[in-house]
């Protein structure tokens, strides 16, 4: 069956990908519109990109978002990987059922509830909301995704390698860093990138858990979107789309190369 696509399949793919990409392409095209009216084409212009450079609140928000996403990704990767190791390597331990539940539940929990519950926690323990509360909230929901990604890799992993290392006298810690981690590295990196993107993208949970001075980029975009569509937001969106696209392509190349190197070596 592998070979040429039937006409029906070609039509499905064409329509499907047109549906996925045309709205994004329209957005990019209109970010170069000289007219302030989004629906009227007034000629090619890059003025909105220059306007962005002078938009202090937006730049501040972008900086906050990047810092939050970076710290979130690091902490979530460590905690998520630990949780994955605990679930796959330590068969039964006390409180395992609760642990499993807590790892998976945040993924199916609606964002509004996660946001609300964390805000109520921060109010109850009387913490000033801001940069750190947003980061803690982001770690909580993104570490679960890291766990799932890393766990999938650990399950497929041949335990004999670890046991051999231990039999040869390696401590569990050495075994982990010299045997386990290199093998699961692509999953750990994927988990890191996933956590980073999830944090970068989050609007709802950040809105609940942030305080004055910690407005993230999605929050800023959201409040201007509610006032109407502007070419400036189109320009900001275009930059984000390009950054993500480049990031994903680089990540794909890195993973592919590491897979190929392992197969060759």
């Amino acid at each position: 069956m592998t070979g040429r696509l039937s006409p029906f399949n070609v039509v499905s793919l064409t329509l499907g990908f047109a549906f996925l990409y045309i709205p994004i392409l329209i957005l990019i095209v209109y970010s170069f519109n000289a007219s302030r009216l989004v629906t009227v084409w007034g000629g090619f212009s890059t003025q909105w990109y220059f306007a962005l450079l002078e938009n202090e609140p937006l730049l501040d928000a972008a900086w906050v978002t990047l810092r939050v996403a970076f710290v979130t990704a690091i902490v979530a990767t460590v905690l998520g990987t630990l949780a994955a190791v605990a679930l796959t390597r330590y068969g039964r331990f006390r409180g395992r059922a609760l642990f499993t539940g807590m790892v998976y539940a945040p993924m199916v929990m609606p964002e509004v509830i996660t946001g609300l519950s964390l805000l109520l926690l921060f109010v109850a323990i009387d913490v000033d909301r801001g940069y750190w509360t947003v980061t803690a909230a982001h770690v909580t929901f993104s570490m679960c995704f890291v766990t799932v990604v890393v766990q999938a890799r650990l399950v497929a992993f041949d335990r004999a390698l670890e046991e051999a290392a231990m039999d040869l006298g390696a401590t569990p810690l050495t075994t982990f860093f010299s045997v386990t981690l290199p093998v699961i590295a692509p999953a750990v990196i994927a988990g890191f990138l996933l956590a980073f993107t999830l944090s970068l993208d989050d609007l709802v949970i950040a809105s609940f858990t942030s305080g004055p001075g910690a407005t993230t980029l999605p929050m800023r975009i959201y409040s201007s979107v509610r006032l109407g569509v502007t070419p400036e937001i189109n320009a900001a969106s275009t930059i984000l789309i390009l950054l993500v696209t480049v990031g994903v392509i680089v990540a794909a190349i890195v993973t592919k190369r590491s897979v190929m190197m392992r197969q060759a070596g």
Partner: protein
């Protein structure tokens, strides 16, 4: 001469310590930032506001020992829940969230299946690129993807402009700020969640079964219904759940595309919280959402897991 024994003991000692850290760190984090907050929501949903700000009565006085706990439990109030179930707004919001999520999931299945099927039947070298092309929009901001539809669906937007230029319609259609726009938004942003699980099951499928059916005289359509669809059932279930669950609690899409007429529970919770500042009521709405949504999912997954255990 006792060294080998001591070495062994040292090993298990270190192992025990490491093990405690590996389990303990994520356990502690999730207890503090997931379990405790949910318990707080539960407590506040059973409370009543005094001066409409925290702390909400009753307060748990642990220093009073058992009597404090009894007094606390005795004072808990179900008023918020009584209010929610007796007020048409909340019942209607829950029902319309479930309805919109269900119909969107059905549309997603109808749109996603042909795409996933065509991807699975594509030449092997092309499949990786197609998968990447489906995932790429998922990596671009969710908010931006929803936002991109505002410019398209507005009365003076691109879709109406195109349809009027083609002479299909004379008057601009009202699409933005309706449930139709919410459906479009959900189908657009959730499509990868539907396509990828379907693709995963369809790609693994053994084509010889279809060939056998056709050799035995089955029409392609009949072979599709009796073989392909049943075999892709796990993908259908996984994709539908992945889309249905977050769609019920969706906030951004109904808020930006649905206008004031679209009732969805996530939006109600947000409004109750940020506009009305009624935290106990917002907490009660959250608990209702959890019961309606998360509990059935957990039970369903348990049942699935048990079925697979028995099947083995």
């Amino acid at each position: 001469m006792a060294s080998p024994i001591r070495k062994h003991r040292d090993d298990t000692g270190r192992r025990g310590w490491g093990r405690r850290l590996v389990i303990g760190a994520p356990y502690l984090w999730l207890s503090l930032f997931f379990l405790l907050p949910v318990l707080i929501v539960l407590k506040i949903s059973l409370s009543y506001p005094e001066l409409a700000q925290p702390p909400y009565a009753p307060t748990l006085d642990l220093s009073a020992g058992w009597e404090g706990i009894v007094g606390f439990v005795g004072e808990l109030s179900f008023d918020n829940f009584v209010f929610i179930t007796s007020d048409d707004l909340y019942v209607a919001a829950v029902l319309s969230s479930l309805r919109i999520a269900a119909s969107s999931t059905l549309i997603l299945l109808l749109v996603g299946y042909p795409i996933a099927y065509a991807m699975a039947k594509a030449p092997e070298g092309l499949r990786g690129i197609l998968v990447a092309a489906v995932i790429l929009p998922f990596w671009t901001s969710f908010l931006i993807r929803v936002y991109s539809w505002i410019g398209i669906l507005r009365p003076e937007g691109l879709l109406n402009g195109l349809l009027m230029a083609l002479g299909v319609i004379d008057q601009p259609l009202t699409i933005l700020n309706t449930e139709i726009a919410v459906h479009i938004g959900i189908v657009y942003t959730y499509l990868p969640f539907m396509v990828l699980p379907l693709y995963a099951t369809l790609e693994r499928m053994d084509d010889s079964l279809i060939e056998a059916a056709q050799d035995l005289g089955s029409t392609p359509l009949k072979a599709f219904w009796t073989i392909t669809v049943p075999l892709s059932w796990p993908g259908i279930v996984a994709g539908s759940l992945l889309c249905f669950i977050p769609a019920v609690g969706e906030f951004v899409i109904p808020d930006l595309l649905g206008g004031s007429d679209t009732l969805m529970i996530g939006k109600i919770l947000w409004a109750e919280f940020f506009s009305n500042r009624d935290w106990p009521l917002a907490s009660a709405v959250a608990i209702v959402m959890l019961v309606v949504l998360v509990v059935p999912i957990v039970l369903f997954r348990e049942a699935e897991a048990r079925r697979m255990e028995e099947g083995r």
